[in-house]
Amino acid sequence: MEHIIQATVVVAGSAKGELLISNEPLSFWGGYDQESGEIIDRRHPLSGQNAAGKILGVPFSRGSSTTTAVLLEAVRAGKAPAAIITTRKDAFFALASIVADEMYDAPIPIVVVPKVQFERLKSGDWLELDEDGRIVVEGKQALRK
């Protein structure tokens, strides 16, 4: 089953990949291993999952102001998420992406989707995001074909 979400673009870019999503905010500092992409916040529902190359959905970033530095390191190491979806504009994710653009010409697409639609998304869904924030969502079933 396929449906389309129109997201608000924070940092533009296209990406496709499997979704890893949680309703719990995440601090990348102490929560994301920049060298592997593993979620390492042992109190977070996604603990132990790997977000490198996937599309990561969290409502917003939490806690430490070092989240941006960790995300920039992950970009440089090739272990960042392919894109990040939030429920509202997150300045920390946006900044890491903007600096990744300025330093490495490698911004990460960052988009905001309305909360109700965010909550309908599930880990394992296959997503395709375009430059204008249009997201095509294919359910888990599609992956198994």
Partner: protein, 420 residues
């Protein structure tokens, strides 16, 4: 659409050099993200970007230096990636130390003050009420906004230095009066005075409030005792770890909250959530991941130990010795440690068998050997982050719990205050 001043435009055109140009470009793009319609001046900055996280943060710093970056406002530096003079005594890889020191040097070259502390409010660079500043470091942001009444948005790493280089920030968030009003009302319900007087109460309360408030501005009522600055420091650090609290009000305690009406700017709270003993006990339990009595190290000083904490600790340690099987470590700034030395507290701590790490902390430099598996701490921030970042287990306790445990070489906690 953002309106730029003549000065902003000249910086953007490169008239103040390539580093300032890159910095203002980032600031302006961020203004777009924040939805700001203008930039505004700041008078001071606290830079968290100095923390070495890897090759990218080092490249960013050295790139700015190579482009001639200089800060234009007084700018203090947060913890570094290494204890510059003491790292050799620990398990820090020399390659890490070398790169972390290069990153330290880069920020000093840009004209920042080498304070190397996550508690810049303990130094002579403490801002004043109403002052517009750009601070990084979550605990410092919460303290500056809430306890001092200075005005800073929550500056992430990499943006704080751009603000310091340009003296300009997007006019948004906690810089603006209307965003400083309280949103949630959290009354303490039946929390005994004896507990409120105990230092172990504040990290637990902060951990709970952070989870409830997330990124809202919480307003606390029902305090029967006046918390000290060290208590508020511990509270804010905890709330900024479990949540995203960058500003809080405590009625009758913090400067923008003389009354409930003042704290909420005359409006109604969005939500009221009672702080009960049951919720507090739950929060306290969450701060520990280990069970049993085994203990490898007691670690204090996140945020960095203050002079008054050194003095309080020295009183507790007088004439006692730690057990040989447990390490005892304090993390603090050069400035506070120097004062502790002058007042004699440091000597008492060393006699006890304690060690000091300067400039950094156990989370920001890879100093702990693999033999350290179980930590005990009075810091909710250490307790929150250590299991994921250091792969250690952790037990939270009050300062007295920590001292007693170090003396006995096993975990001992006074449960009395929590079981009323």
């Amino acid at each position: 659409m953002i309106r730029l001043s003549k000065h902003d435009k000249s910086v953007l055109n490169g008239e103040h050099g390539p580093a300032a140009k890159m910095a203002i470009k980032i600031i302006i793009r961020m203004a777009g993200v924040y939805g700001a319609d203008r930039l505004m001046n700041i008078e001071a900055a606290h830079i968290d970007s100095s923390l070495y996280m890897g090759d990218a943060t080092l490249e960013f710093a050295e790139h700015l230096v190579s482009q001639g970056a200089q800060v234009v406002v007084p700018s203090t530096l947060n913890v570094s990636g290494v204890d510059e003079h003491g790292w050799g005594a620990w398990s820090v890889p020399p390659d890490w130390a070398e790169k972390a020191q290069r990153q330290m040097a880069a920020y000093v070259t840009m004209g920042c003050v080498p304070t190397w502390t996550c508690a810049p409010y303990q130094t002579e660079h403490r801002p004043h009420f109403g002052q517009q500043i750009a601070w990084g470091e979550s605990n410092a942001i919460a303290f500056a906004n809430s306890v001092i009444g200075a005005r800073t948005e929550r500056y992430p790493d990499l943006l704080d230095i751009c603000a310091a280089i340009t003296g300009r920030v997007p006019a948004v968030g906690y810089h603006l009066e209307e965003n400083r009003r309280g949103q949630l009302h959290l009354p303490l319900v039946d929390v005994p005075n004896q507990l409120q007087e105990n230092d172990g109460f504040y990290p637990v309360l902060g951990h709970l409030v952070g989870k409830v408030a997330q990124d809202k501005v919480p307003v606390l009522t029902g305090f029967d005792v006046s918390p000290t600055e060290d208590h508020l420091k511990a509270f804010g650090a905890a709330a900024a770890s479990s949540g995203t609290v960058g500003l809080y009000h405590i009625i009758g305690v913090t400067p923008e909250a003389p009354t409930i009406a003042a704290a909420f700017h005359g409006r109604e709270p969005e939500r009221v959530v009672e702080v009960t003993m049951e919720a507090l006990r739950g929060a306290r339990a969450e701060l520990s991941t280990a069970e049993g009595e085994k203990l490898d190290m007691v670690v204090l000083g996140s945020p960095h130990f203050s002079l008054s904490e050194f003095q309080l600790l020295a009183q507790l340690l007088e004439g006692r010795k730690k057990a040989p099987q447990a390490e005892f470590l304090i993390t603090s700034s050069r400035a506070m440690t120097m004062l502790a030395e002058k007042t004699g507290s440091l000597e008492t701590i060393k006699q006890f068998g304690g060690k000091i790490t300067l400039d950094t902390c156990i989370l920001t430099t890879p100093m702990l050997p693999d033999s350290i598996r179980i930590l005990m701490t009075n810091s909710a921030k250490y307790a929150y982050y250590a299991p994921g970042m250091l792969n250690t287990q952790v037990i939270f306790g009050s300062l007295e719990d920590c001292v007693r445990s170090a003396v006995e070489g096993r975990v001992v906690r006074d449960e009395g205050l929590w079981n009323t």
